[in-house]
Symmetry: C2
Subunit: 330 residues, 2 copies
C-alpha cells in the first residue's frame, strides 16, 4: 500500500467540505474562509498512552480522536469548523483499518458539522492520531477562555461525572487476563461508552457562551485537575460542594466493586469531556434553560468562585476531598 | 518530568504571539483573527521515517519540521501566520532535548514571521512531530493551487535542485558503519544543510502568486513526482528540458561518486523544497525579477505546459528521462 494510494482512497471517502471550505483535501493546503475570529486546538492520541486497541474498534478510535479535539472548541463556545488529521500507521494496521478510523472520524464530523479538510498519513511505530480543529466566532471576545472567572460567579458543570473513569474500571476488570470478569449490563455499556465513545459538548458550550459564561474548560484530566487550571488562569479560588456533583448512573456501584470512593472517582477520573464553567449568579437560570434546550444536557451548580486561589472540594460530612491521581489512560 | 511541567516550560520559552493572535498557547484553544482567507496544511515527521536522530541535532529536527510544513504554505503563495505543534516524545529524549527542538522551531518561526500558537505534548514510542500551519491571504482566490496550469504556460522552478538528495547520499556514505567516508568539505556541508536544514521559499511563493502564477507545488517528493501531481491536478501535460534544470553546486560530483546520474538525482531526489510553478509566458520576465528581488533566489524556466497529460523529461541527447524511485527518507 503506497502512501499516495491510501491518501487518495481516504479523500474519496471524505464527506464533501462545508460552505466555509472552498478547497478541501488534496492540494498543498486547504482553503477556508473564516468568520471574524478562530479558535484552534490540537490534540494527539497514541496507542498505549491514550487508548488501547484491544478495547476500541478502529472506528471508535477515529471518532474519539476527533471528539476529544472538538471538546476543546466546546470549551471555547466555538462553532466547529474544520479538522486536519495526521495519521501515523503501524505495520499491523492495514488499509481497511485506516478506512475504518476515517469512517469513525467522518461520523463525528457529520454529527458536529465539522469539515475534514486535510491531513497527512505516515508510517509510525504505534498508531498515532494528531487532530487540529478550527472553530469560529464573529469576534475574538465571543470565545470563552479559562481566565475570566470572578469571585461571586456560580460554578456549573454539564451532564454527568465519573462515567468515563468507571468505564475504564470496567474495561480493566474485563480484560482477557482477568478471569473474574463481571457481567456487563446496559448500565455498564453506558459507562464504557463514556470511555471509548466520548462526544464533545459543542451545543452546550455555545449555549453557555451566549448565556454569559465568564470562564470555561472541558474536563479531560478530571474535575480536580481541570478546576485547578481554571482557578489558576482566572486568579481565583474555587469552592466545590462534593454532594452536588452529578454522578453518572452506575458510578457508585462500579466504584464500590473496585474498592473506590465514588466521589473521588468522579473528581479524579478524567475523560468525561463535560464542561466546567463560571457564570454570574443572575445568568444561572437562563443558562440552565438554554443548555437544556439547545443540547439536551443538564446543567448543575456545583459550587462558587471565591477570592483567593486553589480548589476546595467540601464533603457532605464537613471534611475536604483531596483530588488524587487516578489510573487513567492519557 | 510531568506533561504539564514540560508544557509550561515550553510556553515560557515561546516568542510572543504576533498581532493576529490575541491569545496564544495555554488555554483550551488559541484565538486568531485571520485575514479574509486561510490556507492550512499539516505535516508529520517520524524518527526513522523522515529523519534520523544520528544525522540531525534536536534543533535541526525541530526547525525542519516547521520548515517542511511552511513549504506547503509557500506553494500556495500564502503569508505565514500560525503553527500548532504535536510533539510525541520517546523515553530517550529528555526535557532539555525537547527544549532544543522548540528552539529550532522558534528560530524558523522568527525567520518567517510565524507564531507558535499552540501544541500538545505526549509520550510516543518514536520521536514524532506533527505541525499544522495556517497561512493568510485577503481572498481565497489569492492562493495558488495545483490545478490552474494551462497549455502554453511556462514551467519554472526556484533555486537549485538535487541538493537535498546529494546531502542524503553524503550522510549515508559518512555513517559510522561505513569506513570509506569521503572528506566533507564546504560544498558537502552546503548539500548536507539542504537535507537537514531546509528552508521554505515563502517570499518566492508570494512573489510568484503576485506575478500571476497559475499553479504551484513545492518539491517535497522530487521534481518527477511533484510535477506529475501538478499535471494531474491541472489536467495538462508537462514538458521539461532536463538540460535546463538548475543543479545545486556539487550535485554532479556527489552523484558521480555514488555511481548515479546527476540529472536523475535532481529529478527523483526529494526534499529540495523548491517551488515548481506555471506562469503565462508574458509573466515570466516580471516574475523572475520579482522573485529575485523579494527572495534573493533565482527563477529558472525548465519547460512548458502542453495539452494532454503526464510529464515528459527530455534529455539533451534527445531521449527521455524516466523519474525513478530514489532512496529518500520519507
Amino acid at each position: 500500500m503506497g502512501e499516495f494510494d491510501l491518501l487518495r482512497r481516504m479523500r474519496e471517502r471524505l464527506p464533501p467540505p462545508g460552505p466555509r471550505v472552498p478547497l478541501g483535501s488534496g492540494d498543498d493546503a486547504a482553503i477556508a474562509v473564516p468568520g471574524g475570529a478562530t479558535a484552534t486546538s490540537v490534540d494527539a492520541l497514541v496507542d498505549g498512552v491514550h487508548f488501547r486497541r484491544e478495547w476500541s474498534s478502529a472506528k471508535q478510535i477515529g471518532a474519539k480522536a476527533l471528539a476529544v479535539a472538538l471538546s476543546d472548541l466546546a470549551a471555547m463556545g466555538a462553532e466547529p469548523g474544520e479538522a486536519y488529521v495526521v495519521l501515523g500507521v503501524p505495520t499491523d494496521l492495514d488499509e481497511d483499518g485506516c478506512m475504518e478510523l476515517l469512517d469513525g472520524m467522518a461520523r463525528v464530523a457529520e454529527e458536529t458539522g465539522t469539515t475534514l479538510a486535510g491531513g497527512d498519513v505516515t508510517r509510525a511505530p504505534a498508531l498515532t492520531l494528531a487532530v487540529t480543529v478550527v472553530g469560529h466566532a464573529e469576534r475574538p471576545e465571543d470565545f470563552v477562555t479559562r481566565s475570566g472567572a470572578r469571585p461571586g460567579d456560580a460554578l456549573v458543570v454539564t451532564g454527568e461525572l465519573g462515567g468515563a473513569a468507571s468505564g475504564l474500571l470496567l474495561l480493566e476488570r474485563s480484560s482477557p487476563s482477568d478471569n473474574d470478569s463481571p457481567p456487563v449490563g446496559s448500565m455498564s455499556d453506558g459507562l464504557i461508552a463514556r470511555q471509548v465513545e466520548p462526544r464533545p459538548r459543542l451545543a452546550a458550550g455555545r449555549a453557555l457562551a451566549e448565556a454569559g459564561a465568564t470562564a470555561m474548560i472541558d474536563l479531560s484530566d478530571g474535575l480536580g485537575g481541570d478546576a485547578s487550571h481554571l482557578a489558576e488562569a482566572s486568579g481565583v479560588g474555587l469552592r466545590i460542594d462534593a454532594a452536588a456533583l452529578p454522578l453518572a448512573p452506575g458510578v457508585t456501584e462500579v466504584a464500590a466493586t473496585a474498592g473506590r470512593d465514588p466521589l473521588s472517582t468522579a473528581v479524579s477520573g478524567g475523560e468525561d469531556y463535560e464542561l466546567l464553567a463560571a457564570l454570574p449568579p443572575e445568568r444561572l437560570a437562563p443558562a440552565t434553560t438554554a443548555v437544556e434546550k439547545q443540547s439536551g444536557v443538564g446543567l448543575t451548580r456545583i459550587g462558587e468562585i471565591v477570592a483567593g486561589e486553589g480548589v476546595e472540594i467540601r464533603l457532605p460530612g464537613g471534611g475536604l476531598l483531596e483530588p488524587t491521581g487516578f489510573d487513567q489512560l492519557g
